[in-house]
């Protein structure tokens, strides 16, 4: 198994192995990070995620904050406000108690800040070597905001592609800390909850907000490709409009990474009907999480399933999902 880096291969693992195994219990329709489950006419939104980040502590956050924000954000991408969370810890024997306290405190602080209770949970201690320190699994239940039903299938030709903030900080920070590369002096993770930003967007755009995605693993490239495929549309992005903080850009250059492939934990991409795009963008900018929001491109009916970046030279480069680890394609 070499499916760790969140791109093409993970998608294949899900599509070829995990979902087929469910048979008739598989979800109907497109796969989303959160599912809408109607209960007695009420749209309940459900999401679950396992957090295995290494290192556990990093500038801008830790695994506990991430475990709250990630699940809150997955709910938010279906225009749902979080109602309750469940948190499970898998702890390796010998893991320092002080660190566990620190993570638990972080979970609490993040949940309070997001305004969502942690209503239940679980803890398992496993033998040495059976886990790498600490894993956290978070499940969230949310309630859908009235007026919008964004879905990964919803992007439509003509939509504006809006990005809520700068990209690349989280993944670069994690890599820098884990491998001791020293970039984390200038960069920190962007991890933050986005449900209030989404509420503001839905307020301004209503059902013109067609699709939302948080570009976590695989970066904005994976998020855009997933939407392009699921919605059956082409997406064209303007390279110069992509906000990449200068230290992130510098780090990516030296590491040979495309910032578009680097993970984020505190921004989202939105596909919004053109006539409401300016209003939604203004609403995003009125929130601190969306202060630096920008319009980065448009959805087209040509080249369905493909994401193309218009470069500063004026050529059109195909922006692909990562295929496993980055393998050079240059001969």
């Amino acid at each position: 198994l070499g499916h760790g880096s969140g791109g093409q291969l993970s998608a294949e693992l899900i599509g070829d192995v995990l979902v087929p195994a469910l048979g008739s219990a598989a979800p109907a329709g497109a796969l989303e990070d959160a599912a809408v489950v109607p209960i007695d006419g009420v749209d309940v939104v459900l999401s679950t995620d396992a957090y295995v980040v290494s290192p556990l502590f990093f500038p801008g956050g830790d695994i506990g904050a991430l475990a709250v924000h990630g699940t809150v954000n997955d709910l938010a991408m279906r225009a749902a406000l979080p109602v309750a969370l469940a948190v499970a810890y898998v702890v390796e024997e010998g893991f320092p108690l002080a660190d566990l306290r620190r993570v638990a405190a972080s979970v609490g602080a993040a949940a309070r800040a997001a305004g969502v209770p942690v209503v239940t949970g679980d803890t398992k201690v496993v033998g040495r070597g059976a886990a790498d320190g600490l894993y956290v699994v978070t499940t969230g239940v949310g309630q859908r905001l009235a007026g919008a039903a964004p879905s990964a299938t919803g992007a439509a030709p003509g939509d504006a592609v809006l990005l809520s903030g700068p990209i690349g900080s989280h993944g670069t920070t994690i890599l820098s800390v884990r491998e001791g590369l020293g970039f984390d002096a200038d960069i920190c993770s962007d991890t933050q909850p986005l449900h209030r930003l989404v509420a503001a967007m839905v307020d301004a755009g209503g059902d013109a907000v067609h699709a939302l995605r948080d570009p976590t693993r695989g970066g904005i490239a994976s998020a855009l490709n997933e939407i392009a495929v699921t919605s059956g549309v082409g997406i064209e992005i303007d390279e110069q409009a992509l906000p990449v903080p200068a230290p992130v850009q510098a780090a990516c250059e030296i590491l040979g990474l495309d910032p578009a492939h680097v993970a984020n934990e505190g921004c989202l991409v939105a596909f919004v009907a053109a006539h409401r795009a300016d209003a939604v963008l203004a609403a995003m900018r009125s929130r601190p999480e969306g202060r630096a929001a920008v319009n980065i491109g448009t959805v087209r009916d040509t080249e369905p399933g493909r994401v193309v970046v218009r470069t500063s030279v004026g050529s059109r480069r195909i922006l692909d999902m990562l295929v496993g680890e980055q393998l050079p394609r240059i001969c």
Binding site: G182, L255, G256, E303, S315, I318, D320, Q326, P328, I330
Partner: protein
């Protein structure tokens, strides 16, 4: 009652089939003249790609006809095979000799016939072009059966005017008469045209609409004036738009470079004739033949050493090679004569995009680059960029196979009853269609990560499969899952048979196949990077191979690529990779100078990346070793274009000419012979520090790689008894390396082969894949 006099020779009926390059080259009028002259009765017609002559007459006269067909074909015809079938109904042929309509029998012989390549303007047409008394005087579209556009104007087959971009131009009476007259040079010249009835030029200054009222002469004059004034003109050429400026004007060349964002990659230069070419470069007889041949490729030539050049310094910075070509269309003849100086003529595109062919698209895309557009109203149906060749070992070595060469089918050594589509690699992309005993390699298409190049791949594939009624049932592809060609194959219907082909196997098979090497052979594949059978990146490989499989016998020592593709763009990173994390260690002392020269932040981060394995995959690439050496010698730290570091290293070596190798050794790792480069790099660093000039060390490095390769091949030959060595991969474009390998393998009792028609770079991968697929399916495997 008919009585045949006894004295009269017996009248026989022969059916003569001529195979080769016999269509679109004036073959039928030639047969008509010949047969009529001999007083024979019958017909000549095109049947698929062949010419068939049904003819009646005395046996010895018929034999004379066959001899003449073999021995005096028209200028651009190549007669490969003449088969004669005797017998038939003489009465059915009637009296006199006529040219019959083309027939298509695609069902009877499934090759790739009838789509001839474009041919440079012939001498007869050039005479008319500059003869004030001729009705086509200065007509930019003059052509005849011996020359003119072909593949670039075809809509459908068989090749007839009604199915070309000329269909919309109704022949005037004078042209119609020539077209219908079997004795005329323009008999069935499908693109025949004249000022009264044919295409016209128009001029569009950048940012303005074209002036439909202007004459061709006025349009040409405007373009000439713009170029003369230092501007760049986008010219609608045969297979796509070209950007043209004064090659002697430093400011003009600089401006074009700035606008095209192409810093140093050499520009091709068009010169008016061979004399003008001789002023700029040394030209061997073999090079002269290519330069003046009907394909009119860009020929990479050596400049005169030490002599001042008429070319602006920015045309081919840092190299002793210049790509020259001669005018191949009447329009280019007119431009060159009017301007009377060498012109930069480069593909009309931005960076890696495909060459523009559509007027609307070109005028939009090239607007930021061109000061004006020289347009005409004959549409370009298919994209054929200018071909690039060089001469190695006295023979043509194709670097980019496009206009004038593609889509001529190549032999497929193992005939197939399948229809094989080989989708190629990623850079310098081509695809190949194979069926029966023929492989049709599509024209050069650029880098597939460009959305327009990918679209052009789909368009060209669509066009050629439609023309040849080709429905693939086998897909051959690379192992690299990220190549957009592999992804294309993956996206095709699941019912198609798939043949994955390892990158370097495809390289060496491409060489073996076009050289007719049959049994097992030794394959030396030296290139940048390709995915190996073990999932790691290869590129300096010795294989024992056949058309169906291979075993890896040897390789170059590995080194990390710090930052993946970033290390390809910056050879200095690659050098750091070899010094800081290679398979073999270079002592700290000799390495200190280079390490000290690198920016400390970059060096320290890369050291950490290499140590921790962060985005630093290892490779056994030969191309990357050339890159690293180029940087270690201070020749090239950053590459502006693919292969620049190696190109400059070759240029440096050529300036020295030394042949003494640096230290090297072969060792054994996991059952493979491995080139340990640590001694080579160490000696180069030490000697550079001691004051040995980089050019001498560059020459020594080339000699080392030759010595290593010969030693590897000799060992392999001793072990396997195989003596044929097929040399392929992008590194073989290095003339010093390739030509010395041929010589020294010969001295060692082995037989070296290079690619000729098919590029040794990734442009040849699709052909290699097709051959492997044909052989694999043939085995029932």
């Amino acid at each position: 009652m008919a009585v045949t006099p006894r004295e009269a020779p017996a009248r026989e009926v022969w059916s003569i089939r001529v195979r080769g390059t016999v269509q679109g080259v004036g073959f039928r009028p030639f047969v008509h003249r010949l047969a009529s002259g001999l007083g024979l009765d019958g017909t000549v017609r095109n049947v698929d790609g062949d010419v068939v002559v049904e003819v009646a007459g005395p046996a010895d006269t018929l034999a004379a006809l066959v001899r003449a067909l073999r021995e005096q074909p028209p200028q651009h015809a190549v007669v490969a095979h003449v088969t004669v079938t005797r017998g038939g109904d003489a009465g059915a042929l009637g009296a006199g000799f006529t040219v019959a309509l083309s027939t298509s029998a695609a069902t009877t012989r499934p090759g790739f016939a009838g789509l001839p390549v474009d041919l440079a303007t012939c001498d007869d047409c050039i005479r008319e072009l500059f003869d004030p008394a001729d009705r086509r005087y200065r007509y930019p579209f003059v052509n005849c059966t011996a020359c003119g556009p072909r593949a670039t104007i075809v809509d459908a087959l068989p090749y007839d005017r009604a199915r070309t971009a000329m269909a919309g131009f109704a022949l005037c009476a004078a042209c119609a008469a020539e077209y219908a007259d079997p004795t005329d040079r323009r008999f069935h010249a499908e693109p025949v045209a004249c000022p009264a009835c044919g295409p016209r030029l128009s001029w569009r200054p950048a940012g303005e609409a074209s002036d439909p009222g202007a004459t061709s002469e006025e349009a040409l004059a405007a373009a000439v004036a713009t170029i003369a004034a230092g501007g760049t003109v986008a010219v609608k050429g045969l297979g796509g738009y070209q950007l043209v400026c004064d090659a002697t004007d430093t400011a003009a060349v600089h401006r074009l470079r700035t606008r095209k964002r192409r810093l140093r990659k050499p520009f091709a230069v068009m010169v008016v004739d061979t004399a003008a070419a001789g002023v700029l470069a040394r030209i061997s007889p073999a090079e002269l033949r290519l330069l003046t041949g009907p394909a009119r490729p860009i020929v990479l030539l050596a400049t005169h050493p030490g002599a001042p050049t008429a070319l602006a310094s920015g045309v081919h910075p840092g190299t002793d090679r210049v790509g020259l070509f001669l005018p191949g269309t009447p329009l280019h003849h007119l431009l060159l004569r009017a301007l009377a100086r060498p012109l930069v003529v480069t593909s009309g595109n931005l960076s890696d995009e495909p060459i523009a062919i559509d007027d609307t698209d070109a005028t939009a895309r090239l607007a930021p680059v061109a000061d004006g557009f020289l347009l005409h109203d004959r549409p370009i149906r298919a994209r054929y960029d200018d071909s690039v060749v060089r001469v190695i070992g006295g023979r043509r070595f194709t670097v980019r196979r496009a206009r004038g060469y593609a889509p001529d089918p190549l032999p497929l050594p193992v005939a197939t009853d399948r229809s094989i589509l080989a989708v190629g690699a990623q850079l310098k992309h081509t695809f190949t269609l194979a069926r029966a005993d023929r492989a049709l390699v599509g024209p050069h298409g650029g880098s597939l990560d460009d959305a327009d190049a990918l679209a052009a791949f789909h368009a060209t594939l669509g066009q050629l499969t439609r023309l040849h009624r080709f429905t693939p049932d086998v897909l051959a592809h690379d192992l690299h899952p990220g190549y957009l060609s592999t992804r294309y194959a993956a996206g095709q219907p699941p019912g198609l048979r798939r043949v994955p082909v390892q990158h370097h196997h495809a390289h060496v098979v491409s060489c073996a196949a076009e050289n007719g090497v049959r049994g097992p052979f030794l394959g030396v594949a030296y290139d940048g990077l390709g995915l190996g059978a073990d999932g790691t990146l290869w590129g300096g490989e010795l294989l024992l191979a056949s058309y169906t499989g291979f075993r890896r016998l040897g390789r170059f020592g590995t080194a990390p690529l710090p930052g993946g593709e970033a290390a390809v763009r910056r050879p200095a990173r690659m050098a750091l990779g070899y010094l800081l994390g290679g398979e073999f260690a270079v002592p700290a002392g000799p390495a200190a100078g280079f390490l000290g020269r690198m920016p400390s932040a970059e060096r320290d981060t890369i050291a950490r990346m290499v140590a921790r394995g962060v985005n630093s995959p290892h490779t056994s690439s030969a191309g990357r070793l050339f890159d690293a050496m180029s940087s270690l010698l201070g020749i090239c730290d950053d590459a502006d274009y693919e292969g620049e570091a190696a190109v400059l290293l070759e240029a440096a070596a050529a300036a020295s000419g030394g042949t003494e190798p640096l230290p090297w050794r072969l060792t054994e790792v996991d059952g493979l012979w491995v080139y340990d480069w640590s001694g080579t790099l160490t000696a180069a660093l030490e000697r550079a520090r001691a004051g040995t000039p980089p050019s001498e060390l560059a020459a020594g490095f080339h000699a080392t790689i030759v010595a290593v390769t010969v030693a590897l091949c000799v060992r392999a030959a001793e072990q396997t008894g195989v003596t044929a060595v097929c040399l392929s991969g992008g590194c073989m474009q290095n003339r010093i390396l390739a030509s010395r390998l041929l010589t020294e393998l010969g001295t060692a009792g082995l037989t070296g082969h290079l690619n000729h028609d098919v590029p040794a770079n990734d442009g040849g991968i699709s052909y290699g894949q097709a051959v492997v697929a044909a052989a694999t399916c043939d085995e029932g495997g």
